[in-house]
């Protein structure tokens, strides 16, 4: 009984940490983008103010049950991803649901949120939302291929389909997977550029082109839920990368350093590049990233 209670408390604590860290990273990315553009920029806690303001909007219109549920789907998917990813290695305070094959399950659950969101956006009847959804799904088809190739190569090389198994393999050999299977890491990082939807892959929610796409008809509290679920999802994805390729983290400080270092890659690539068109983005993902993914498979099979 006590362990169940501890697990629930731990899950809540994990969620809170993910929320705060994700929001702060979002604010820092706004600040850094501003500094790159030679502006002063908003304070790093600006995202918290925005979220609070959105949450305290007095009216919130929705266009039907599915539109109402869309953000909830997004949140459920984010929280499930977070619960599957081991946050800290040797710590019982942050529990995670690990089982054989959770890496494969994770691949599915990570696409579940955007799909629910797509259903919600479809009900608004806004043409911009529909275009945004099609673009998002095309882009997903693009970056899922190098991402899956990278993960499959890891599974072949280390004969395990669980995240904790891969972490144990790293702890056993003493080298990070980043160095022992570099091609998989390169493919996964290139896929990450699409996953985070920073420029040049911000084709889904392009504000000037599509009026922010799928979220065009959502304001106030809906936007607040989407924003917080995005923050949680950011943290979950970064932690997953750290677990898979950088040997996990023993305490929160090391985790923050590693995740922020990874987060800088899509962010700094984003501030210096303009937006791709949809077909350019898909072609980009099916080019070099997929090539590195295939190399990773070859490496896994041969060595």
């Amino acid at each position: 009984m006590e362990t169940v209670l501890m697990n629930i408390l731990g899950a809540v604590a994990t969620f809170l940490v993910a929320f705060v860290v994700g929001m702060t990273y979002g604010g820092l990315s706004r600040k850094i983008t501003a500094r790159v553009q030679n502006r002063k920029g908003p304070p790093f806690y600006q995202n918290f103010i925005d979220a609070f303001k959105l949450g305290s909007k007095k009216s919130a219109i929705h266009h039907g049950a599915m539109h109402h549920l869309g953000p909830a789907f997004l949140m459920v998917s984010s929280v499930m991803t977070l619960m599957l990813v081991p946050v800290l290695t040797h710590n019982n305070w942050y529990p995670n649901l690990n089982f054989k094959g959770d890496l494969i399950f994770l691949l599915y659950i990570m696409t579940f949120g955007p799909l629910g969101m797509a259903l919600g956006a479809g009900q608004t009847g806004n043409p911009n939302s529909a275009i945004g959804v099609t673009r998002g799904l095309s882009q997903m088809v693009g970056f899922e291929i190098p991402w899956v190739l990278a993960l499959v190569s890891l599974m072949i090389q280390y004969h395990t389909t669980s995240i904790t198994g891969l972490m144990a393999a790293q702890a056993h050999t003493g080298t990070w997977l980043m160095f022992s299977s570099p091609f998989a890491f390169i493919a996964a990082v290139m896929a990450m550029l699409g996953m985070f939807r920073y420029s040049p892959f911000d084709i889904v929610g392009a504000p000037t082109e599509l009026a922010s796409g799928p979220i065009a008809e959502s304001g106030g509290k809906y936007l607040f839920v989407m924003m917080s679920s995005g923050s949680v999802f950011t943290f979950a994805k970064l932690t997953l990368y750290v677990d898979l390729f950088m040997g996990g983290a023993d305490n929160l400080g090391i985790l923050l350093i590693k995740t922020f270092a990874l987060y800088l890659i899509p962010m700094l690539y984003g501030v210096t590049t303009p937006r791709y068109r949809t077909e350019q983005a898909v072609r980009w993902f099916w080019g070099w990233p997929s090539f590195f993914g295939l190399l990773a498979i070859l490496q896994a099979v041969i060595f």
Partner: protein, 181 residues
Amino acid sequence: MMNDKNSQKIVDIIQNWARKHSIWVLAYGTGCGAIEIPPTMTSRYDAERLGVRGAATPRQADVLLITGYLTVKTMKRVIRVYEQMQDPKYVIGFGSCTINGGMYYDSYNTIKVLDKYLPVDVYINGCMPRPEAVLSGFAQLQKRIAEGRANGAKEYKENLEWYRANQKKIIPNWVMPEYNW
């Protein structure tokens, strides 16, 4: 809660503080004034440091920025945009044209006084107002929000019939959906 009125006051102060520091602007570029928005937002004047940021759609926006003259034809769209916005919402009238018609004072198809059709919270004077003036207008709006005096949307709801009558006077073919904002 011990004292409901007082606790509501504290909540209001906190919420107004957040609203003040996070203003998402829908710039409705009807006239020449739209050209002053890019310098306000970009490196030279950087409105984002004050929490002022562009919104993509009316649903996400807090402030409707009406930049310049409004013809009768665009007036209909402006009303629709305003009614799609979510409470609490504010309107900024930008430039002389929204105050008294400006250089279009004797035009047959522009409106002269914006306040008769939409509740304006803050006017920014000038033809054109420079980015400094725009920032000062935002500062004025922030002050009014913090004091809880930016109640344009509330007035609009209370005096809806008066506003509707004025709007229908200039828009003869009134075919508009009813919004349950």
